[in-house]
């Protein structure tokens, strides 16, 4: 079973709830529990919010969100044709929340959440129909395999 969903939206923050709804519909097809579904929706929302805020430098543009679900993984791709974005060390750097509070910083937490929640987060650039592509992968919970019977003689 492979499930594909594609959403073509504008970079308007009002579309965040629509994409969260689509993510919830895809996740309903998985064995993730409620808590993990909530977290994955947060990761998708954070990724899209970054694109909405930064990709087009204040202008408007198109964003494509693709969900692919198979037996083993959920893959979420978010593609834009905006300003090339390189996360640099930000994908690896831990957030010091105490420092955020000390300095009164409100932002910069989304990428940290994406990385904590998903199993893999990768940025691609300059594809055939995108400038930036964020790929997030979450491995699905696998059913317990039946214990092997070690006694083959019976």
């Amino acid at each position: 079973m492979t499930l594909h969903r594609v959403l073509e939206i504008t970079n308007d923050s009002k579309n965040l709830s629509r994409v969260r709804g689509e993510a919830a519909a895809v996740l309903a097809e998985t064995a993730f529990d409620r808590e993990m579904r909530n977290k994955i929706i947060v990761a998708v929302d954070e990724a899209l919010a970054n694109v909405v805020e930064h990709a087009y430098g204040g202008g408007s543009g198109e964003v494509r969100v693709l969900f692919t679900l198979d037996e083993r993984t959920l893959v979420v791709r978010i593609q834009d044709q905006g300003v090339r974005f390189d996360p640099g060390e930000r994908l690896k750097t831990a957030v010091d929340i105490h420092e955020h509070i000390r300095l009164g910083l409100k932002g910069g937490l989304g990428m940290f959440l994406m990385r904590r929640i998903m199993d893999d987060v990768v940025y691609n650039h300059d594809g055939p129909d995108f400038v930036n592509e964020l790929v997030m992968v979450k491995n699905l919970p696998q059913p317990d395999l039946p214990a092997e019977d070690g006694d083959a003689s019976s």
């Binding site: 923050s13 009002k14 709830s17 409620r34 909530n38 977290k39 929302d45 910083l105 940290f112 959440l113």
Partner: protein
């Protein structure tokens, strides 16, 4: 139904009680930011924020409180979250905020925090 519904009232103990319902995300966080800023400007730095009916929070929403708690504490106040929903508490946990902010399971407990 709006994406985010906010209500607030001043309490007799000098705290401000805020109730949030719906979705606090990158689309709606400015509503909460404006409310908190307005309450601070009125001199109230003791906030009780009820999150029982808040179905969703993103880092933009949590960031409102991250950005505000320093000013609250600098002015003798604090921010206490009352009955956060499971979805919201999980995000606070991921961000490490559960070890920094105070939480209450009842309104009397929240009011007694000040």
């Amino acid at each position: 139904m709006p994406d985010l519904k906010l209500a607030h009232q001043m309490l007799s103990n000098g705290a401000c009680y805020i109730e949030a319902e719906g979705f606090l995300d990158a689309h709606t966080f400015e509503q909460m930011e404006s409310l908190v800023s307005g309450v601070f400007d009125k001199g109230c730095f003791k906030l009780i924020v009820k999150l029982e009916k808040l179905d969703y929070i993103s880092s933009a929403g949590a960031g409102v409180f991250v950005g505000a708690i320093g000013r609250a504490k600098d002015n003798g106040g604090d921010i206490v979250f009352l009955q956060p929903s499971a979805n919201v508490k999980e995000v606070f946990d991921l961000l490490g905020l559960s070890a920094i902010f105070r939480f209450a399971s009842s309104r009397p407990e929240a009011e007694a925090a000040f």
